[in-house]
Symmetry: C2
Subunit: 99 residues, 2 copies
């Protein structure tokens, strides 16, 4: 196994609507078609098994850390963050690590 | 793509030692040999690229949510949590989601 992984979980603001969450999910799922450095991308809402969990996760795999930073700073990604994520974001916890 | 993913990130207490972190990592890496439900397991310390990140991530993949709960509640896993994780844990953020 080799590569570089970006993991981030979010907690939504009270009042975040299902439409806002779905729009974010749809827009994030467009990113693999727009950012070739994204080798694997799996996002999803919490399954509701464990109390105290955050609400949503993104796991993204890259060839290396440089490819991750291309994704991080890519205009298509930044636009989704600004337009769809920030309006509903309460908390964020992230880690990037070598695979 | 199908399956069920467990994502969790941790922040360590001030004073957590490198030895404690390495012991945790070693003990977690034994779990795939002990818990057959673990189909993929990739853990690691934060690469230090982004300020404000958490310190450590675990991403674990399972066939389904029932297999995840076997892992969650498995004595080998609970022992590592009690002996190696809790003593150095400051913050935890987790999501489980359908792949």
């Amino acid at each position: 196994m080799a590569g570089f992984r970006h993991v981030v979980v979010f907690r939504w603001r009270e009042g975040a609507t299902e439409e806002q969450k779905q729009t974010l999910e749809d827009r994030l799922n467009e990113l693999p078609g727009l950012i070739s450095e994204l080798e694997a991308y799996a996002i999803g809402g919490d399954a509701g098994i464990n109390p105290g969990n955050f609400d949503f996760a993104v796991v993204a795999d890259f060839a290396d850390r440089q490819a991750y930073t291309v994704y991080r700073d890519h205009p298509a990604h930044r636009t989704v963050i600004d337009e769809c994520l920030k309006p509903i974001l309460a908390e964020r916890a992230a880690v990037q690590y070598e695979l």
